[in-house]
Symmetry: C2
Subunit: 181 residues, 2 copies
């Protein structure tokens, strides 16, 4: 188990060029299951996911989001949404907890699981940020009908990669401190 899972983590890359092939609902469910397997503070799971497979909304997002042009050939997209309300409601139970802040961390972990699951299944994907950019969040809300109290964190185009691409090794020993900074 060790080598293959580590290899998936090490070789994941941002894929921005797709063939245009559709992604099945069955595959999307496996990918979404990976998202929901992420950890969350106090196991609140302050997230929801919009799986977009229809050309209409994919094309609208493509047109109106500045950094999501690769949606034109994506087979689907997953929008990772945060639920600050769910996060905040729970907070009263914890004397030192901080209201409505952990959802950003939790949803980012879920987004990374989604990217890894795509790669593990042979698909390509890329994290395009909505949060914390208010303009982009407004576009997603408008196109998808996301309510005001739900935070679109990331729009993740998913597709069959058009080429093999190149993995860059980002390991830097200088980023590591041992025992003390």
């Amino acid at each position: 188990m060790e080598n293959e899972a580590l290899e998936v983590i090490y070789t994941r890359r941002s894929v921005r060029s797709f063939t245009g092939e559709a992604i099945s609902r069955e595959s999307l469910m496996k990918i979404l299951k990976a998202g929901m397997a992420a950890p969350s503070a106090r196991n609140i799971q302050p997230w929801a996911f919009v799986a977009v497979t229809e050309r209409g909304p994919l094309d609208s997002l493509c047109e109106r989001l500045p950094y999501a042009k690769m949606l034109d050939k994506a087979g689907a997209a997953i929008i990772v949404c945060g639920l600050p309300g769910k996060d905040a409601v729970s907070v009263g139970q914890y004397k030192d907890a901080i209201g409505g802040k952990y959802w950003v961390l939790d949803c980012s972990a879920a987004a990374e699981n989604i990217l890894l699951a795509c790669h593990a299944m042979g698909f390509g994907a890329v994290w395009t940020a909505a949060y914390p950019n208010e303009d982009r969040m407004a576009v997603v809300r408008d196109v998808i009908g996301v309510p005001e109290d739900v935070m679109p964190l990331a729009v993740i185009p998913i597709g069959v990669p058009r080429d093999k691409g190149k993995v860059t090794d980002k390991f830097k020993e200088a980023n590591i401190h041992w025992d003390r900074w």
Copy 2:
């Protein structure tokens, strides 16, 4: 590749009970490489990592952090730190970017990669939050010597799991919306 990597994602759990065995530096390097393989906004990689293996700092963190008591039997800990300065410095180049905010998302993705790598290698780990809690961040800064402009996001105790534990399936179909909210 598909099944084993997905299985690792699906079966990762928060492990809080360790045998006390040490974790080798070689294993920690593999785990840290997984952290650095995470995506980051504009590939800024606004992160640094403190790998703690000595009992002195592990015991101090154990004593002073309220939710990190499992450090007493952990073989090591990795502290994921954010570098908002690195993030913010780059921001001037991007007209719609938002200064110093993406590091939280990027470091959360790195933290999730670390948790998954631990599980893939047979170790257990758990995300204990420092950021955004100022008190806990101050403890980490004091014990480890982390500078004021570096943000300790998570303290991740790592060890050999004391028992097999139980994986909970967090998949909920109600969390999924298709095409529209």
